[in-house]
């Protein structure tokens, strides 16, 4: 089991300057913000469950850029129908990462059902071109290295993480329209 914050640091270290990174509401956006704030990050500070759909749209609109979707098990479960849609639309530039701590940590670590349902198996059944389930840093580093190569469709990476809240972690301090504008400039930038 990896601390989610450590997993996010490893992911953000592997992200290249041209990549778009989307993070879901709650602690995940805060941890991405604290780890590596950059204009090509879109912090979805509300709208739980909407992130993967927005990521699919961006991947289809910007085929020349890798799009990383970083969400939690609660967010993925809320919009489970988006997974077969992503798999059938088959964008080869989408890397869908579920940081699965089996809990709604941002609201007090109430248990989710992902301890009883394997989201990686759901991804396989949906038809993602690549599905990995990792539980340690070595595994995570390996799948992030794999993600550098282009394959015929979207990737799903399930990372089993622990519940390890960062005390007093700040909220994303940028105004919503500022997040939008700097992200839009990066979407439209060639490099």
């Amino acid at each position: 089991m990896i601390d989610r914050y450590i997993a996010i640091q490893a992911i953000m270290q592997r992200v290249e300057s041209n990549d778009l990174v989307l993070s879901t509401t709650g602690m995940i956006s805060r941890e991405v913000f604290v780890t590596h704030d950059r204009p090509a990050n879109f912090y979805m500070i509300g709208s739980m469950g909407l992130l993967s759909s927005f990521g699919l749209g961006l991947a289809l609109q910007s085929p020349g850029k890798r799009v990383f979707v970083l969400e939690g098990d609660g967010s993925a479960l809320m919009s489970l129908g988006a997974m077969p849609l992503i798999a059938t639309e088959r964008p080869n530039n989408l890397v869908h990462i579920i940081l699965d701590n089996e809990a709604y940590e941002s609201t007090g670590s109430q248990p989710s059902i992902s301890s009883k349902v394997d989201l990686a198996e759901i991804g396989k059944s949906c038809g993602y071109a690549y599905v990995a389930r990792v539980e340690d840093m070595e595994g995570l580093e390996g799948v992030l290295e794999d993600a550098r190569t282009t394959i015929s469709g979207p990737r799903l990476i399930l990372v089993k993480v622990g519940i390890a809240p960062i005390k007093d972690i700040p909220r994303v301090s940028h105004a919503p329209t500022e997040i939008r504008d700097r992200f839009k400039a990066r979407v439209q930038s060639a490099s």
Binding site: G46, L51, S53, G57, L60, G81, K184, Q188
Partner: protein, 164 residues
């Protein structure tokens, strides 16, 4: 209005990236759109998913479209308030207005939303126009100007029988 004329008007305003959930209001216009090589259509599984997908067009400098039935407005209330309206990300909602006029029109499941549709959009701060075939171009241009000026989503409400 026939399907071709409807889509030519929308395409000429830059609506070429559309996601949605079908509604019988649109009839052949749905099939026309899916077959049109100038339109990219994503068959979303829910209206909120469609909104998330279509909103991406704004970031490429365009305007996305969401085709949906008004019953799906319930599924997009949170995405509208904590995504579209909060970040000010415009999108055009093309909404089949089932239950227009209330009972006894249409099926019972459409009666309440049929009456409440304009009020709900007003309450949320989403501008809307009702499609009238003879004035679609000017009404749509007015709506699109409002969408652009305020950087908000806007809705084109389409009643049954308007498009063939």
């Amino acid at each position: 209005m026939d399907s071709k004329a409807f889509w030519e008007i929308l395409k000429s305003r830059g609506i070429t990236f559309v996601a949605g959930v079908p509604d019988s209001t649109f009839g052949d216009a749905y099939n026309y759109m899916v077959d049109d090589p100038e339109i990219t259509y994503v068959p979303a599984v829910r209206e909120d998913v469609a909104l998330g997908i279509a909103s991406a067009a704004y970031f490429s400098g365009g305007l996305g479209g969401v085709m949906m039935q008004n019953s799906g407005i319930g599924n997009i209330v949170n995405p509208l308030t904590s995504f579209s309206l909060m970040y000010k990300i415009p999108v055009l909602l093309i909404v089949g207005w089932r239950g227009f006029g209330g009972p006894p029109n249409d099926a019972p499941e459409h009666w309440i939303m049929g009456v409440k549709t304009p009020e709900i959009l007003d309450l949320l701060g989403v501008p809307s126009v009702v499609m009238e075939p003879e004035s679609l171009e000017s009404d749509l241009d007015r709506l699109l100007a409002k969408i652009k000026q305020d950087s908000v989503p806007g809705a084109l409400l389409v009643r049954s029988g308007m498009i063939s």
